[in-house]
Subunit: 455 residues, 2 copies
């Protein structure tokens, strides 16, 4: 058994056996043409009545196999004269000797793969809308575009872990059921926990910090986070995967910022190597300009960002957070001026950051915290954390945080705390922006939003 | 700044600077002895009044620094004449010139690190019971033993991913909030999901299978699973991490079983290389015999296992599941006969397996499914899955599964399904058994059980 993407011209005139989904089948008299698809690859097969191996009845049988059935075919690899445009294997085809239906699909599929893989356009060809795709996600996932997106999601996750491990970060496992709504009570899912109540963690923030206080040097957490936010936008999910990291530093939190920039650039580089075919396939259905970045990463201060916006006519205060529109605009301005889709804003105003954010010692209106942007949207937020008990307590009170809800976290700061900083990335959002996809749901295998809990 | 474990005899007579938790401090007249600890490493420091760098007041100051404070010390590395038994750096010490308190701990800690790291024994020295340790987990995690266990947990997770990636398995992200209680309604956490109800996934089983049906070849999922089971035992948690995998196969499910065995053996081998120091440190506090395994892995049939038990005097039916006591006994019998702590039982009776289990085509009383055992406890369960729609539906009905609760899953089997098999491992349980720890809570950073939702 050989996989479709492994067949090449060295197999010409050899008998091979392969398995795949029956992508297309067409019977014309004594012949049947078929296309077998396996992930991002496809190959054409031809069966014709030859008086020996293939009978007329066999051709009829083949013509009636429902599309998307899993089939094994055995046959001889033949070089074609005219390239087979519709297949990734365009120089060869298989002259089928035997075909075996491993698993038969129903005849009336809820969507057609060729419709689901078609780029948007003005032509009159059938398309499948996103909701229908997601309703029948198992079929929809079979398109080469979705196989490519899933590969990129996998690679992003795997490379993140590989690169962090090289940088001495250690995989860390934190609880997702917690006793209190960790970062404010809003937008948190609540559940019955035996005789009491638990909440689903909105981020691993407090626990990865407790890991550091527990003596860990560099930790990363990879796992789901849960947001009960009733946001029905192109970029919100109620469950998504977070790549979170936290590290001790010695002199300055820029040790952490530099590490984060290097990690992201390493991932981008390795993605380009590992997933170039995937990136091209996705761009054919969802056209987007290639993702550009600089090395070293462009780091601007928040104040510099505000200045660029003001020069472009925006009116805003020094300590005001960026609106989404201004984020987008700043992304375009940065792209024009510096030629990068990836940059960092450092030194955010303290007032717009969470209670555990370390103020800038040189200007307490600002903070030692940063956001990372891709194509003008925030993908990672992070910073130095307050490591002193009294300072943290005062900040929590000033932010109106219920101290009882962070009791274990707060108490941990009484036991000696190494200075630390970190950040968290939303995986699906990064992949959406990296590929320039129009909707985050396309970057999630089985997305969850306020209106979708299935499949 | 150099880390404590990086200091060596080449630094003798050099001035170095290091950071750590103040493990011990003792003042005697004009001298202060201290021990600085960083994860699994420690080094002795001595400060004495020399009329220049260190004053009498300074000695007093050092003597009053609370234990567990984070301190930076600067000083000269000196070879010692008599080994320092209490430190991992036993051949050198630091003559302190400067000390800086980075973060001060409170004076009255809820537990003492030296008590928490003491092995159980008949001596009269103070110990800390498990509940107290877990109540103050952030401090408890600082013991060298717990740092070692956390390293082993990290390595297990990271190596699992590395090895699966080498074997072409792809990291896959599945939802944890699902619309129906997937595998029977019992023991499932329920939550409000906007206007409806959701459940926390008890396993990624159905979704990783839907990934395969969606065209993926080999997938793995790493993440939390949730069990609302009111079991207060040494080996149950309500939230734990599952390493789950699923793969298409071509001819026989033993392609999968062989792959799983090779993956586990690879992990064991790499753990021994990567974590030998950790394994030794843990064994000092929790003595256990070294973990033994064979290569290739011992695979017995369930029937062979039953025969061994019967020869040892057990009475049980051919198609009866193993009780926990019989699992343990069989583990001991296998260890005596074959000299391994790790083995597989294949071909479980069909009646004791979940509805999606493929019957053995040669004997429908049995099934193409297996359990993996470590030190006589099950760590992985898996098998070939039914891939035919009608067969799966009939099996679900026979098992009393509410078809509506698995509608999306069941429907997916109408679209052509590649034959597949897989399995799932509980991370914490594997690490507990690998190290021979007496309680699974020791193998979880912040464990969750029916009575514990904090810290």
């Amino acid at each position: 058994m050989i996989q479709i993407n492994e067949i090449n011209t060295s197999h010409i005139n050899q008998i091979i056996e392969t398995r795949g989904f029956l992508h297309q089948v067409r019977r014309t008299g004594k012949q049947a043409f078929l296309v077998i698809r396996d992930q991002m690859s496809s190959i054409q097969g031809i069966a014709y009545v030859d008086g020996q191996k293939i009978s007329k009845e066999m051709i009829q049988f083949i013509g009636n196999i429902p599309k998307e059935s899993v089939v094994d075919i055995k046959g001889i690899v033949i070089a074609v004269e005219k390239p087979v445009e519709s297949c990734t294997q365009s120089n060869i085809e298989i002259h089928v000797h035997e075909i075996f239906v491993v698993s038969r699909a129903i005849s009336r599929l809820p969507l057609q793969i060729e419709d689901a893989m078609r780029p948007d356009g003005d032509d009159n060809l059938a398309k499948v809308n996103l909701d229908t795709k997601l309703d029948h996600r198992v079929l929809d996932l079979r398109t080469p575009t979705n196989q490519a997106i899933l590969n990129i999601l996998s690679s992003f996750g795997e490379l993140f872990i590989l690169i962090l491990r090289e940088n001495k970060f250690r995989m860390t496992f934190v609880p997702h059921m917690i006793s209190c709504a960790s970062e404010g009570g809003a937008n948190v899912f609540e559940l019955k926990y035996f005789l009491s109540t638990a909440y689903l963690a909105q981020s691993p923030q407090l626990y990865k910090q407790m890991g550091i206080i527990g003596g860990r040097k560099r930790v990363f957490v990879m796992g789901p986070v849960f947001r009960a936010e009733n946001s029905n936008t192109h970029r919100h999910l109620t469950e998504f995967n977070c790549l979170d990291l936290e590290m001790q530093f010695y002199l300055h939190y820029h040790e952490v910022l530099d590490t984060l920039c290097q990690i992201m650039v390493s991932i981008f580089k390795m993605l380009e190597q590992e997933c170039q075919e995937e990136i091209n396939i996705v761009a054919r259905q969802y056209p987007a300009k290639p993702f550009e970045y600089l090395e070293p990463t462009l780091v601007l201060t928040f104040t510099e960002g505000v200045q660029m916006l003001r020069q472009a006519g925006v009116t805003m205060g020094d300590h005001e957070d960026l609106t989404m529109a201004n984020e987008k605009l700043l992304g375009r301005l940065v792209k024009i001026k510096f030629g990068t889709d990836f940059y960092v804003l450092d030194k955010f105003p303290l007032a717009v950051r969470p209670f555990y954010t370390m103020p800038d010692p040189e200007d307490p209106e600002f903070s030692n915290s940063y956001d990372f942007f891709m194509r003008g949207e925030e993908i990672m937020t992070g910073g130095q954390r307050i490591h002193g008990f009294e300072m943290l307590k005062a900040s929590a009170i000033a932010h109106g945080v219920n101290l009882d809800s962070i009791r274990d976290y707060l108490n941990a700061f009484q036991y000696g705390v190494p200075p630390h900083a970190g950040g968290g990335i939303g995986l699906e959002r990064v992949v959406m922006l990296y590929l320039g996809l129009p909707n985050i749901r396309m970057a999630s295998m089985f997305p969850r939003d306020p209106k979708r809990l299935t499949p």
